[in-house]
């Protein structure tokens, strides 16, 4: 791949902002059905017998395109796979499926397929794709002064050994990121700098090789409030002046709103909603997006604490829920969302958190502790006093106490049995991304086949 040793010294006055509509610009990155699965090691006997212990699907079929000059926000909670997606693009996480086509134009060597690239080939690509991490302190070698650190990419990629040339380029990069007066910063060490200054140095290093795409993984979340805006502004300026394209990975929908053209909301390895930022913020479709937006603490005390928060937390990626991964936490979930035996446990735990202790003791005796359940679409709730009908009565009681609980929408039948109760659930359907206006959403509420079954979604 030829290098593009152009100058970083761009006079902003001569840069015209790219006014081409987003859809008409060339595609820089085209990710199709990207998968990153990590095999679980399992126990000794499993390995001895060659049994598979399953895998963690950190990224499970993610697709998006990134056009020149676009800022795509990959937003999600921890464990959503957003960072793994970003790292996979740079060859830092093993891609187990899908395609990633990178094409920054002829000056960067034309189109490249990133999946299956070997390390030496990937090295060349990394001149065009640079990564900025969350923690600027950990990204800089404490024993290297800033000039050495920022010049390091030139050395690694064997661009030049000419000291004068290196010095000229380093100074240009320092100027670019606002580490000025340059002489004051060249020979400082990371420990001498504040968080914002360190992140500036990291950005200087990232633009050193004149990349086309910058993958920024939470670049401002470790910085103080009064500095975040400054670094975001700097990144916007760099994008404008150097013609960069950004993949912005974050958990923070507030900065993403300001920064991104397109937003992709991730949950447990999948994109659940993707579309133009303005649309997503104005009219979020997926219940998960809605709750994320409602949960952001606004610096305005006249807004009360949101009461309608999704319960629980991101589930274990090694055993993701059936159907829609968000269904156990979703207030709007209904029949096809993937209700299963495991949800019975959650239902009981939720009840026992709410009732008084003597009631809990009484009910625990009925079904035993811990509750043994079959996995999958049928659950047997045992009755320790077989034939007493106490388990049926308990389920009835739980349902009466909270008839609006989404769980009951997934139950197809409740059959009393001699030794307990048998619950059967509706067939789970995996929600696929479908077009809903200008956005794409993976939610049965927006699927005309299922939407009539749903209870109306309350607007937050």
């Amino acid at each position: 791949m030829p290098t593009k040793p152009d100058d970083l010294e761009v006079d902003p006055a001569h840069v015209k902002p790219d006014t081409t509509p987003l859809d008409d610009r060339p595609v820089v990155l085209d990710v199709r059905d990207l998968r990153v699965h990590f095999a679980l090691r399992g126990g000794f006997f499993d390995r001895l017998l060659g049994r598979s212990s399953g895998s963690v699907k950190a990224v499970d079929g993610v697709s998006f395109t990134l056009r020149k000059g676009e800022v795509l926000g990959l937003v999600g909670e921890s464990g959503s796979g957003k960072t793994t997606t970003a790292r996979a693009l740079l060859g830092l996480a093993p891609i187990t499926g899908g395609t990633v086509r990178f094409d920054a134009g002829p000056e960067y060597g034309g189109p490249v397929e990133l999946t299956g690239l070997r390390e030496p080939q990937f090295r060349a690509v990394r001149q065009a794709i640079q990564l900025v991490f969350q923690d600027p302190h950990a990204s800089l070698n404490p024993a290297m002064d800033l000039a050495t650190a920022v010049a390091h990419p030139l050395k690694i990629h064997h661009i030049t050994k000419d000291r004068v040339e290196i010095d000229r380029r380093v100074r240009a990069a320092f100027e670019r990121v606002g580490l000025a007066p340059v002489d004051q910063y060249l020979h400082k060490y990371p420990a001498d700098l504040s968080g914002g200054q360190k992140q500036r140095a990291v950005l200087a290093r990232a633009i050193m090789l004149n990349p086309a795409l910058l993958v920024a993984d939470e670049p401002v979340s470790m910085l103080d409030m009064s500095v975040r805006a400054k670094i975001l502004q700097l990144m916007l300026d760099l994008k404008r002046d150097l013609g960069l394209t950004y993949l912005y990975v974050t958990h923070d929908l507030a900065t993403a709103k300001f920064f991104c053209d397109t937003i992709a909301i991730m949950y447990l390895g999948r994109i659940v909603e993707i579309g133009p930022a303005a649309q997503i913020y104005a009219d979020p479709k997926h219940p998960y997006t809605r709750s994320l937006l409602a949960a952001i603490p606004e610096p305005d005390p006249s807004r009360a604490v949101p009461r309608n928060l999704p319960r629980g937390e991101v589930p274990d990626a090694a055993r993701p829920p059936l159907g829609c991964s968000f269904h156990p936490r979703c207030q709007a979930a209904f029949a096809p969302c993937g209700w299963e035996a495991r949800d019975v446990n959650a239902l009981l735990e939720q009840r026992w958190t709410a009732v008084a202790e003597d009631e809990y003791e009484r009910e625990r005796v009925v079904v035993g502790d811990p509750v043994e359940l079959e996995a999958g679409l049928a659950a047997r709730l045992p009755d320790t006093r077989a034939g007493s009908g106490a388990a049926v009565a308990l389920l009835d009681e739980i349902r009466r106490a909270d008839p609006d609980e989404p769980f009951w929408r997934g139950v197809r039948s409740v059959e009393p049995e001699p030794a307990g109760v048998r619950l059967e659930f509706n067939e789970p359907v995996d929600p696929a991304l479908r077009n809903v206006g200008p956005v794409r959403v993976a939610c049965h509420l927006h699927d005309p086949r299922f939407a009539p079954l749903a209870t109306p979604l309350e607007t937050p």
């Binding site: 921890s78 409030m225 603490p297 305005d300 958190t353 202790e357 625990r364």
Partner: protein, 342 residues
């Protein structure tokens, strides 16, 4: 607001010894927290807010010095014997840390954590009473009783933070310091924990000092807020009042630079917080303050009550009779380099 203060801090000062001289991390801070009240202490990193929280609980590292007064009910906490302090911590003064992952013993069941805490402070309880109290507290934090005998690794981050809060509250302390309790958590879990903290006074009648850098959290969980800058409280008052009508230029600029969903333009404060070994003379904020006057660089501001009710230390609010002639003229200063920042 006539309830007697549970904790009363007066002119508290904390220094740390360093090679370059003493760092004045807390520099003359005064405030009260009343029964059942939540006070938000907000500021950027390095402003001394965590040091202040720990200073109140007597948890400062060696090499630090404390001066001033912290009155808890009728007892003076500054200069009290370590053994007496240890007895009060937990039972009367609680602390909730930032990282729930590292504060639970991985080899101890949750039930054992509670038993250890309760046995140390209330030896008269028998094991049934211990279990009942612990399960009840956990339940109020949303942890089901079925999980009582699990180990910490079986819980998620948010659950662990709930357990930490339950561990602090099971002894019914009158005053709790929560130091960035949600910083390591995801947005949805953070919101869950915030609503628990906002309900604290309803459920436990505990006074809370909530230390955070996030103004949004203060807005959601606190009745009163104290804004700290470079070791001093620059403004303190009713949270709604302070957020809707900030009196101190720092509060105003901090609110403006916070990126929220309603942000339409990026704004930031020029310059960076000062080095606390050698802080600027006069008002510590004057080198970055857009409204700075001649007097701000030379005289320490005096605390006054702003017309809207909050306490504020800023010469813009007077008292006029203390400002020397010509002191209200705008301060002249050289341009700041763009990277001269936090």
């Amino acid at each position: 607001m006539t309830a007697a203060p549970v904790i009363s801090v007066r002119d508290l000062r904390v220094w740390y010894g360093t090679e370059r001289g003493p760092v004045r991390a807390v520099d003359g801070v005064s405030f009260d927290v009343r029964a059942g009240e939540t006070l938000g202490l907000v500021g950027e990193s390095g402003c001394g807010k965590s040091t202040l929280g720990r200073g109140i609980l007597g948890l400062l590292p060696s090499g630090s010095a404390v001066d001033g007064s912290v009155r808890f009910r009728d007892r003076e906490l500054v200069g009290v014997k370590q053994s007496d302090m240890r007895e009060m911590r937990g039972a009367e003064l609680g602390l909730i840390f930032q990282e729930p992952m590292t504060r639970l013993d991985p080899l101890m069941r949750i039930s054992e954590h509670f038993a250890e805490t309760l046995r140390a402070h209330e030896p008269e309880l028998n094991s049934e009473e211990i279990d009942a109290r612990s399960i009840d507290t956990l339940r109020r934090m949303g942890i089901p009783p079925t999980r009582f005998r699990h180990y910490p690794h079986e819980f998620s981050g948010g659950m662990r933070q709930r357990i930490m809060i339950a561990l602090a509250l099971v002894l019914n302390p009158a005053f709790v310091v929560a130091d960035e309790p949600t910083t390591a958590l995801d947005v949805l879990v953070e919101a869950q924990i915030l609503s628990i903290l906002a309900d604290l006074k309803r459920n436990f009648d505990t006074s809370l000092l909530l230390i955070t850098h996030n103004l949004g959290i203060v807005a959601e969980a606190c009745e009163r807020v104290a804004v700290m800058y470079a070791g001093r409280i620059v403004e303190e008052g009713d949270a709604r009042q302070v957020f809707s009508d900030p009196s101190h230029p720092y509060t105003r600029e901090l609110l403006r630079s916070t990126i929220s969903l309603s942000t339409t333009a990026l704004h930031y404060i020029p310059g960076s917080p000062p080095d606390l070994v050698d802080p600027p003379s006069g008002c510590h904020f004057h080198p970055r303050c857009p409204s700075a006057m001649q007097v701000c660089g030379s005289l320490d501001p005096v605390e006054v009550r702003a017309p809207s009710g909050q306490r504020v230390s800023c010469w813009l609010h007077g008292p006029d009779e203390l400002i020397p002639p010509g002191g209200t003229a705008p301060l002249q200063r050289q341009e700041l380099a763009s990277a001269d920042e936090a």
